[in-house]
């Protein structure tokens, strides 16, 4: 009897069409966005990020590259104008340290399709 030897490496499969994924930048560029000057996102207590956090869950969960920790950063930088307003960072932070407000007066992302 022959036994099947399953292929587990996707890249090794022939005839799988390449899906050209837009970059994060191009994806966000497709969205309609109304600028607002003040960030609707922040950290409540910067010291919590410095002293209590070594997992950066806000960065890991964000679908839009809003939360960033680069180099020796101890407190994330926030590219709030990328924000898709899902709120996941607020739920993800185990220290409940994400300050989140709805952008005011219709500002922020405006979904056309949703």
């Amino acid at each position: 009897m022959s036994t099947t030897s399953p292929t587990t490496d996707r890249d090794a499969l022939p005839d799988v069409p390449d899906v050209e994924n837009a970059s994060t930048e191009d994806r966000l560029y497709a969205d309609k966005y109304t600028d607002h000057e003040d960030s609707h996102l922040g950290v409540k207590v910067a010291g919590f990020c410095t002293d209590k956090c070594d997992t950066d869950d806000c960065v890991a969960v964000c679908p839009a590259d809003v939360w960033r920790v680069e180099g020796d950063d101890e407190v994330p930088t926030i590219a709030y104008e990328n924000c898709l307003e899902c709120g996941s960072c607020r739920f993800a932070c185990p220290h409940n340290n994400v300050a989140w407000e709805y952008p005011e007066r219709g500002a922020g992302v405006s979904y056309k399709y949703g």
């Binding site: 009897m1 022959s2 036994t3 099947t4 399953p6 292929t7 587990t8 490496d9 996707r10 499969l13 799988v16 069409p17 390449d18 899906v19 050209e20 994924n21 837009a22 994060t24 191009d26 994806r27 966000l28 497709a30 969205d31 109304t34 997992t55 869950d57 960065v59 890991a60 969960v61 964000c62 679908p63 839009a64 590259d65 898709l84 307003e85 899902c86 709120g87 996941s88 607020r90 739920f91 993800a92 185990p94 409940n96 989140w100 407000e101 709805y102 952008p103 005011e104 007066r105 219709g106 922020g108 992302v109 405006s110 979904y111 056309k112 399709y113 949703g114």
Partner: protein, 448 residues
């Protein structure tokens, strides 16, 4: 900006013109209540995201949907389990779904549907204010509540306080107002999923050929397993609209933070799956969106009425995900509808007094409805999915793929040997006959 004074001018305020909010406003306006709907987006729907399929039984109870901006009706459902390289799927196309009302299942785009649905509430007499963000609730001492009774809302408009006898909070999953006002607790992250979605543009003919669709037919595909969202609890989806295809992933935030890739990368991987890529390739991204989904089940549903405020829709955690049924829009509309009816019965339009016993009928009615009944019936699933994740999302998809490859293997051996080996592979994954029987028992409620 001109700001009419809305303070004390209305019988009730609804926070959010999504499906729950507009349903509540419709129910109240239909009973001749003066209702004010506050929406933070530039128009209703602009802040809203779902998969999605809209289930319309309660919508049809409230309005005529002949003119509604529906995309396609669901003519085909598919449930696929994916390994990295394999798909095993069940596809169904019952003839009955071709007939109206199409099992009350339609793909829609929230930008247009929510705007239309809110217009129906306005046509019924509700007042809609857009670009108005509710930033908190106003309480006043009294009413038997320790922290005082909710008597209105704070907004970001000039002179932003607007008072009314009752407030329905239908603000959505990222429930800042209800948490801030102490109407609900902060969600635990194991009770919330993160979803990332893309809307891809095609021409209509490409969609109809690719998915075998005629006229207004559409598909709803749900995918599970490690080929969909890695080792996370969750899944991927594809829904066809008229000229666009919605593709996305949704999975537990608890798993997302543990994963070495972010939701966008998970979406990219899902789209590149050998069984998915041919369906989504070539589309132009016209929108990228994300949303949180409350999936804590019945245990995470807060008190639906407290101190003169009512919670409905996602803000109340009313979402069902048992792996087979992925529902939220119908529960949002039903909860808004029931909340609106209770408010209409409770508020005296002449003197603004509120009958709290009438308000309390809202959770009672909802408890008797499919919304709470379904959440209770399938309450076991989320916990099981987490407990059995390795089996459900990894071992089972692999065993199925191995077994089917074996069973259908074409060579010069007798088929009996292949059939035997396929059976052994499945039994091995399930833990033998005893293990298989135990699992069948554990999951029996899924099909009942």
């Amino acid at each position: 900006m001109e700001t009419p004074d809305y303070d004390n001018e209305f019988d009730a305020i609804v926070v959010g013109a999504g499906l729950a909010g507009s349903a509540a406003a419709l129910a109240m306006a239909n009973q001749d209540l003066d209702v004010l709907v506050l929406e933070r987006g530039q128009s209703p729907g602009t802040k809203n995201v779902f998969g999605g399929v809209l289930y319309t039984p309660t919508v049809r109870e409230l309005v005529d949907i002949d003119d509604a901006p529906l995309e396609r009706y669901v003519a085909e459902k598919r449930y696929g389990v994916l390994t990295e390289t394999d798909e095993t799927a069940v596809t169904m196309r019952p003839g009955e779904w071709l007939e109206e009302p199409h099992n009350d299942s339609y793909t829609v785009l929230r930008g247009s549907f929510d705007e239309w649905f809110a217009e129906q509430a306005v046509d019924a007499g509700a007042t809609l204010l857009t670009e108005t963000t509710v930033t908190g609730l106003v309480r006043e001492p009294g009413g038997g509540a320790a922290e005082g009774r909710v008597v209105g809302v704070e907004t970001d408009r000039p002179d932003g306080t607007i008072r009314a006898p009752v407030v329905v909070v239908a603000e959505g999953a990222n429930s800042l107002v209800s948490e801030g006002a102490g109407l609900r607790d902060h969600h635990d992250r194991e009770d919330v999923a993160v979803a990332a979605k893309e809307v891809l543009k095609f021409d209509r003919e490409t969609i109809e050929q690719r998915f075998r669709l005629n006229g207004d037919q559409g598909v709803a595909y749900n995918y599970f397993g490690e080929g969909a969202v890695g080792d996370a609890v969750g899944g991927g989806f594809i829904y066809t609209n008229k000229r666009t295809v919605s593709v996305g992933v949704a999975y537990s935030i608890e798993d997302a933070v543990a994963s070495d890739q972010n939701p966008e990368e998970t979406l990219n991987d899902f789209k590149q799956h050998p069984a998915v890529a041919p369906l989504v390739r070539g589309g132009r991204t016209v929108e990228y969106s994300a949303h949180a989904i409350p999936e804590g089940g019945i245990d995470a549903v807060p008190d639906l009425v407290s101190d003169g405020a009512l919670l409905a829709g996602d803000a109340a955690g009313l979402v069902l995900n048992n792996g087979v049924h992925l529902e939220g829009t119908n529960m949002a509309v039903e909860s808004g509808y029931q909340a609106g009816r209770a408010v209409a019965a409770a508020v005296d339009g002449d003197d603004g007094s509120v009958d709290d016993r009438a308000l309390a009928t809202y959770p009672e009615e909802l408890a008797d409805s499919f919304v709470v009944q379904n959440l209770q019936h399938y309450d076991f699933f989320q916990e099981l999915a987490v407990e059995d994740r390795e089996f459900l999302f990894s071992e089972l998809p692999r065993a199925l793929a191995d077994a089917e490859t074996e069973y259908f293997a074409v060579d010069r051996d007798p088929k009996e040997a292949h059939a035997e080996a396929a059976k052994d592979r499945l039994l091995d994954a399930a833990g033998g006959y005893v293990g298989a029987a135990k699992r069948a028992w554990k999951y029996r409620k899924l099909l009942s």
